[in-house]
Symmetry: C2
Subunit: 341 residues, 2 copies
């Protein structure tokens, strides 16, 4: 087999505020050759996730940024095309972090072999992967929901929010989702089994959220920030838990917004209500991976956890799909299908 | 003994913003008569604490407000003058919550008998009382400091801050205090044994605090809010703990301040550094009282925890002392001595 060139997408420039298409550049480059201990991977599915916005900036964060002119990072499901590592053979399908490119030569160490019979392969980028583990750890370990409590989660039809809400239902909680648009809200209630889903694009979010949470909020799984957080804070109960997973509403800020300073507001809520507000990054919780795969695998097999994907076709469409994701334009977990499995 | 009248201080009106002397009214009223199961108490010492500012307002909080024309609330050390309860006799000294008044008829249930030989009686309002327990629980249970870590606490010469810092030193931490004025800073270092104490009244607080914390901050015991919190946030390390005990800098706010909104700033810090920010109210932690009295009693007897008081004389001076306290004008735990023990 002669492979000479492949395509990749690099970070062309760092965004100021909202990223635009010209932050990315599609390149055609020679195929890398795997060295001893490496494999050559062909990307089948690329995961697009909000955290990638952070990697495009060089502000200090929990992970180093993607360099300008470097391949955009990202989780992938790949097929082994060539192997210089005894533990993998051609045709194996693996979970990798090959980034936004069609082919990659990577060390075999760290790759996880996937069973194509167990679940659709792309699900390992979502409900059975990093977003699923994020939901599992954030809700169960940090949120510690008890039966009868009210759990609120935004981005309710996304891979994290939808999983948080469905696990909370399994634990006997009242689950209130927040999503953008009537279609998503209907999906959250009818397909995912949320008790209520509030559309944040309609006016009077605070009042409608309050009406949806007559007993207040015991767990707020924070993945958006912004106006949703301001609507949630007054409704939190004494002893509420707030696992902080992301704040996508603010990812494009170039400076702190002018207006009211809500720092005294959140601190007063934290104090008076004895809140526990805790940030987490999933890499700190990989010791829960086995528990997660056991529980989530079973829930998915039993149909107790449902999962929706939004699939873009072809590497060249990854930037547009990512920009849409940042605006909440996706409906379900955003992946890009690069190559037929 | 014929007692006909006594003096008390009531809340005359609710403050708008910073309280003033006319929020209080000194009254002379008939002495109450204890009923069956009650005792008549004479206040020896009255405790003045920042939380009382909250009770003057009727904004929702963790405790109901003091009513207008009602006696201001407060912890007290009292002597039993008359007893209609078999478990107390005249002359017993007790810890009570008799408020800002010279005499009070209160149920015997809930009173704690004090040993006048064990420690100066007023200390049960401070290092051996609610502020001491607040420091103990907030630092040890929520802050969980480890030897070699850096602990930062403001109001460093107050009853909570001074105790937090000294316990942290006993646990092998580097302790950085923040206080207002050179005298307090010198006291924190020379008398309390803090490693450094930074004067928040001098310019460039952020830079000076950063210089005092070359390894960042692992535990920030939050009791002030305001500019100190903004200086602390950038210095917090990954995994830092922030027990939230109070935010005195904001207690007089009548509305959220205009300017930069720091909500995205704190949420980003919480997320990226996986902070644990947790509010607490000491009433939720009374199960630690026995451990606290055992440990703190021993530390105080051994001279390993030192304690400073600021004693006002006479009930009539309580309002002025309290207003001074809200501006950080006290130096050490503020109490009012009402009557010779």
């Amino acid at each position: 087999m002669s492979i000479e060139n492949h395509r990749r997408i690099v970070l062309a420039r760092r965004p100021q505020g909202e990223p635009t298409a010209d932050c990315f550049r599609l390149e055609t480059v020679p195929v890398p050759q795997p060295k001893a201990g490496e494999v050559l991977l062909r990307t089948l599915y690329l995961s697009l996730d909000p955290y990638m916005r952070g990697r495009m900036s060089d502000a200090p964060s929990y992970a180093p940024p993607v360099g300008v002119d470097e391949v955009m990072c990202g989780g992938t499901v790949c097929r082994v095309e060539q192997s210089q590592a005894p533990e993998f053979k051609v045709g194996d399908v693996v979970l990798a972090a090959a980034g936004w490119q069609e082919l990659a030569a990577v060390p075999a160490k760290g790759l996880v072999k996937l069973d194509p019979q167990a679940a659709p392969l792309s699900w390992y980028l979502g409900v059975l992967g990093m977003p699923g583990l994020t939901a599992y750890v954030g809700l169960l370990d940090l949120g510690q929901p008890k039966a009868g409590e009210t759990v609120v989660v935004a981005a309710a039809t996304g891979p994290v929010g939808s999983t948080v809400g469905q696990i909370a239902k399994l634990k006997g909680c009242r689950v209130v989702g927040i999503a953008g648009g009537a279609d998503k809200c209907a999906f959250a209630v009818k397909e995912l089994g949320f008790d209520v889903c509030v559309d944040h694009r309609e006016p009077d979010l605070k009042q409608r959220l309050a009406a949806a949470c007559p007993k207040g909020i015991d767990v707020y799984f924070e993945n958006v920030g912004g106006e949703v957080l301001l609507a949630v804070l007054p409704l939190l109960n004494v002893g509420a838990r707030v696992p902080v997973c992301g704040t996508i509403a603010w990812y494009n800020l170039t400076e702190l917004p002018q207006g009211r300073d809500h720092l005294p507001f959140i601190m007063r809520n934290i104090l008076v209500k004895r809140l526990k507000v805790q940030g987490f990054i999933i890499f700190d919780h990989v010791h829960r991976q086995a528990d997660f795969l056991r529980d989530m695998g079973e829930w998915v097999r039993q149909g107790r956890i449902r999962y929706r994907e939004d699939v873009a076709q072809g590497l060249e469409n990854a930037p547009a799909a990512f920009l849409k994701l940042l605006k909440g334009g996706n409906f379900g977990k955003q992946v890009v299908k690069l190559s037929p499995a």
